[in-house]
């Protein structure tokens, strides 16, 4: 279980508890957090669960999977701290994680 804060592009923050084993994307979808579309349902086949993770947390996450950067290329306004939230698995270690949502997903 981890407390995760999703910060919308307009600055509005949503903090929710997400069970370990779920992805950060699933945590957003299950809690109806706006700004994560997840069109493909977590299959790394789209780039609509794109988030930015600030440096202090970015380096604590498991490294990107093969192919994740290829999908991020196709996201709206990708950056070096971009991740696909469907590829970040929640664990106790991520308690306090903050992710920033882009202006839009497509």
């Amino acid at each position: 279980m981890a407390k995760i804060t999703y910060i919308e592009h307009n600055g509005k923050a949503h903090t929710v508890e997400v069970s370990s084993g779920l992805s950060v994307m699933e945590g957003a979808v299950q809690n109806n957090i706006p700004g994560i579309d997840a069109d493909c349902g977590g299959g790394m086949a789209c780039a609509t669960c794109h988030v930015y993770v600030k440096e202090n947390w970015f380096n604590k996450l498991d490294p990107k999977n093969e192919g994740e950067d290829d999908m991020i290329d196709q996201a709206f306004e990708p950056s070096s701290n971009s991740r696909l939230s469907c590829q970040i698995q929640v664990s106790d270690n991520l308690d306090g994680l903050e992710v920033h949502l882009p202006e839009k997903q497509i």
Binding site: C40, A45, D69, D70, D73, Q74, F76, P78, S80
Partner: protein, 338 residues
């Protein structure tokens, strides 16, 4: 105007199998898809990737699955309308009148929306001013490469389209290829070729930059690019090309008066009809309690939607359930000789 029993919007696996089920029960249909080929996501996103969860097929690729589905509906000779999108629908005397982006018209008591997560369209540059030049000097696809001869062209992207066009256009144009990171995801051979051309000063490569804006009064003059820190610079250019892959958008479907819930269309699970009489939704685009976004679920949904269409297409007949193994009329429709 073409009269038919059902118009299927979307030629992915779900739409194709629904067409099969319509053929089996003796209904006609027309199939419309915005892509230039049949197969939907299976063919556009993962033609070579193996799929392991099609019932009774331990392993097949998106391309093989599509080919088999097309073979399966061959006996019915249904028409495909590719490169066309259904733009508008209206209801006249219990019939839906559909108009496509190419101006074709259909009249049908039933529409089956098998639209996946929407129609595929090129991803565009975020900057508003790009819209001003779109189709003229800011392009997302190339129809006639001769327009670039002896011109300067800035290409954005890191995949095969960006690399292939950079290589091709470098023969007769001044090409700059810009990508947001150092690694390119295109084929290794193309990446090598680009590096070689770069070494021989045949094209310029700039990485870790992305587009900020385009500038020009009447015609395009330059493109402004920025790095991660926001530092920007201007490049003079005649053309700007963007190859960021395809995105999927619901598009005109949103205007049809259907209930929409998180980009999906709620349906009843008896016939997969939507809130509009005679409009059905199946596959990834529909939602109901327990919905799984699997191809096999789409097949089931298509079979039931086809029966749902029957009552509007043949209001005076009673639908009779038949097995393909034993029914003479089904075998006749399939053209099977006993």
């Amino acid at each position: 105007m073409t009269n038919t029993d059902v118009v299927i919007v979307g030629a992915g696996p779900t739409g194709l199998f629904c067409a099969h089920q319509l053929g089996i029960i003796g209904l006609k249909c027309e199939i419309v898809d915005n892509l230039d080929k049949i197969g939907g996501q299976c063919i556009e996103l993962y033609p070579d990737k193996p799929i392991y969860d099609i019932p009774a097929i331990p392993e097949c690729t998106g391309e093989e699955l599509t080919k088999n589905l097309i073979d399966q509906i061959k006996p019915f000779n249904f028409n495909f309308h590719l490169n066309e999108r259904v733009q508008e629908i209206k209801n006249e005397n219990n019939n839906w009148i559909l108009k496509t982006s190419k101006g074709k018209e259909f009249s049908s008591p039933n529409i089956v929306i098998a639209g996946g997560v929407g129609s595929f369209e090129p991803r565009k540059f975020p900057s508003k001013s790009c819209e001003k030049f779109e189709g003229k000097s800011v392009l997302y696809s190339i129809k006639d490469k001769s327009i670039f001869k002896n011109k300067s062209v800035v290409i954005f992207g890191g995949g095969d389209s960006a690399l292939d066009w950079a290589i091709e256009l470098s023969k007769d144009s001044k090409v700059t290829l810009i990508h947001r990171r150092d690694e390119f995801r295109g084929a290794q051979a193309s990446v090598e070729k680009v590096k070689e051309l770069q070494k021989n000063n045949k094209l310029e490569v700039i990485t870790k930059y992305s587009i900020k804006d385009v500038k020009g009064d009447k015609s395009l003059e330059s493109v402004e690019i920025k790095d991660e820190s926001g530092k920007s610079k201007n490049l003079k250019t005649d053309y700007v090309l963007g190859f960021f892959g395809l995105i999927m958008q619901l598009g005109p479907i949103l205007e049809w008066g259907l209930n929409i819930d998180k980009k999906t269309i709620p349906v009843n699970t008896e016939s997969f009809e939507t809130n509009k009489k005679g409009i059905f939704a199946i596959g990834d685009i529909c939602s109901y309690p327990g919905k799984l976004k699997l191809i096999l679920s789409g097949f089931h949904e298509g079979a039931l939607a086809a029966r749902g269409c029957f009552k509007y297409a043949r209001p005076d007949e009673k639908y009779k359930f038949e097995f393909t193994t034993s029914s003479k009329s089904v075998k006749d429709r399939l053209g099977v000789k006993e």
